[in-house]
Subunit: 341 residues, 3 copies
């Protein structure tokens, strides 16, 4: 059974299937999303996309690639070093807002900040241009870094001059700039820690990210808001590098499974789903105890290679779905918690 | 005078002395503890140990390698990449609890999380299996990281489904996975920043970690709880790498003496005690000012090579022991603090 | 037009201009400051300087290289690995205080901590000696790090035994230890995040750091106080390494534009001002939203190569200068914020 057949049967989508259809650019990063690969072609492509900022139910806002399709977080954008992204931002709201990227090059007109009068008035459309570059030599063997990294974008104009209103209401998303030759994942998931929420949800409504055992899965982790957080993933780890991997010679590279995800920061990494640990329902959560207890927890659901659920996974999902995260965590003097789940 | 004679005379224990006796596995990391080296033997050893979770005075709990010997933090566990650790966890308490590791491989049954029904009921014994692996090649020269790192373990089931009750009461410890060829230290100290405490103590009851001038000392630093912290060590520094060291070619490696130690994070490093700075009573502390003022401070006491105290050290210890950390730090308008110590 | 002529015309000073005059050591890091380069001469120089701790208006304190010239932050100190700095600290205040460095070597008498009776009583002068070292070989190819890094110094004795009073009132500054061969910048700026302030100021009184398009500019970032912060610079990025750069072989080095700047931590990096993004008024700010909204924001003003202001920059400066950061950030239900600036 080839990859496409698997996808058809399990209801999971694979990155390789979408790559052609999505014009090689970007894909909403909803739960169980898979993203389109940038075409690994010649350097310096210019891609033109339109992003729609729209109101969502619950006094929220989102970015989307089509009208009426806004999501929180917004679409995962992905390009190669050297590429340029021209974004036509259509503001379908009655709010001042913008789109401000991390990691890439832009002139002041594309800053997305009111400081530089770079924002969309209500109902206004505006072009933002993001350029990227490869690394450059300085001298004496010193190299100035290029744009490659796991970055993000967000509003910088709603509510306050720093976009605090937009961030509080959902205007943020992931942005990947790759080096040529980087390994491409089969699935991609964006995880945003923002106040006491993950992707603007509290458990049990937080995302269940799915993969098949053995798939290469990419996580893009972004911090926002006002609180310090740490991202922890059970049973998987990564190198604390740009890629989450390293080269044979990087003997001293630090390997981690818990990392600060504080406001404005982002990182990414790839894991082989269930590698060495097997399929199952693996938690990811903020490791600040009151945050995880309060619902900053979701599942990385690793299915069997054929897409079926491994033994025990459904029970774990049921526990996750039925657990009350709003209860005040408090320690009992005896064992009554043992049967709590 | 050789190492053993020094140890006998000074009352300090050395790693090399214990290595044989402790079966090459693990040692409690009390103040002034030294740990056993893993035997640097063939890959893929399986070690079987029993850990006892027990109640301690003051409504606390601890892990220990023998009944009645529980400590906070628990014993420092140490293995090589490729090894497997089979832990028989004996729950001698009337609480639901577990043991959840960072950095290593485990299947859902050993997750230690109620989500996966992986915990000990009161008075129950349960086996947890932790496997480790060496790094693996992906493709294009990319290397997926192995298990080596300065990790930790902790309860994930007491009080809440994230073990917040267990963490608040002492159920945590250090875990080292080494690569073959890593340098072994002569002493090892585990430092846990958890709420406003170090190893569940507030100064002046926090640990005084001792070493002889010139000894290779390893610190294993772990963060827990709900507060952000930064670990600072006076007069010593380390590279921000897996080992705290680097290779000749790592020209751009960052060197630090202050590092975030936020909930769920851990790191480790080795220093040569007193190297270039001499023996003395050196502070380690959280660098958040209200935290250090409140008692998140301890001593790294570097003795002379013969074990005697250097000039001034006893005075420093006396100041440390008699200082009142509960007083509200407040600045005086004049010089009355000058004689405060 | 050569560099000196440019400087004369624009009112900007350049590092290269000051290098001779300042005896190759140190320079106050006020806004629009440029620092003196250490003479890249033989290893092991000993430099003797005098630092004056003095009261400043507003119940503040500062360090300065001359009487009556104290600044917040204090002078940026800069040496090479192997050098020694002998600091005569003249305490011109009626407070107990000291100077405690990060990253360098010192014996207990120069610890700057009351624990080691290392402080200046009111009106007292005391010598502190800071030594540095190059990296050393351990064994098996492991290298123990030298002193090179972006460090800092601060009071450790005023108000509390951890200098919380001195830190709250301005007694801190930057310290750079370079490796031989490191690239030297043309401008240097010290940025201290301390409570809700940048260099003890709140916007719009925070520093406007200036540079000419294309200049190599060095930022030295330091965190102090009690709050977690993240430093973000618009339109520029750096590698998360000791230098902010890397070598051709460091393929996996992480590139960032937002980094934790928590109490006691420091890092530094160099950027080419406006490289690939053009001149303009670029914000740097804490990315914790309430912090930036509250005034933890300043400008990196990149001028045209001839020193003139680029189009739009004066408007941005005016917006920055006239914006009210004390107003409670709150989101409007309609578009009235659009014309707020």
């Amino acid at each position: 059974m080839d990859a496409r057949a698997q996808v058809a049967r399990t209801g999971l989508s694979r990155r390789s299937v979408l790559a052609g259809a999505a014009a090689g650019v970007l894909v909403p990063s909803a739960a169980i999303a898979a993203s389109a690969a940038p075409a690994a072609a010649a350097a310096g492509q210019t891609r033109q996309i339109t992003i729609y900022a729209e109101a969502l139910p619950g006094n929220l806002y989102g970015y989307g690639l089509e009208p009426g399709k806004a999501t929180i977080p917004g679409p995962l954008l992905e390009i190669y070093e050297g590429d340029t992204l021209e974004i036509e931002l259509v503001n379908n709201t009655d709010q001042r807002l913008s789109i401000h990227p991390h990691g890439v090059n832009y002139d002041t007109a594309s800053d997305g900040a009111p400081l530089n009068a770079s924002f969309n008035n209500p109902r206004e459309t505006r072009i933002y241009v993001w350029r990227t570059r490869t690394q450059t030599q300085a001298s004496n063997g010193f190299t100035m870094p290029g744009s490659a990294g796991y970055w993000h974008y967000h509003d910088h104009a709603m509510g306050t001059d720093h976009g605090s209103g937009g961030l509080a209401k959902g205007l943020y998303g992931g942005l990947i700039v790759r080096k040529r030759g980087d390994l491409l994942p089969m699935r991609q998931y964006t995880v945003v820690f923002n106040e006491m929420m993950i992707n603007h949800k509290v458990a049990p409504d937080t995302p269940i990210f799915e993969a098949l055992q053995g798939e290469r899965v990419e996580f893009i982790c972004i911090g926002h808001g006002n609180l310090p957080h740490t991202f922890h993933l059970h049973a998987h780890r990564w190198a604390d590098t740009r890629t989450g991997m390293f080269s044979e010679g990087d003997f001293h590279a630090q390997v981690i499974d818990n990392k600060n995800l504080d406001p404005g920061s982002s990182f990414g990494f790839q894991v082989i789903a269930g590698d060495g640990v097997g399929p199952g329902a693996w938690m990811y959560h903020c490791h600040v105890q009151t945050h995880s207890d309060g619902g900053m927890v979701g599942l990385f659901l690793v299915r069997n290679p054929d897409g079926s659920l491994p033994a025990g996974a459904q029970d774990a999902i049921d526990r996750f779905k039925h657990h009350d995260h709003t209860a005040q965590p408090e320690m009992s003097g005896h064992a009554e918690h043992a049967g709590h789940l």
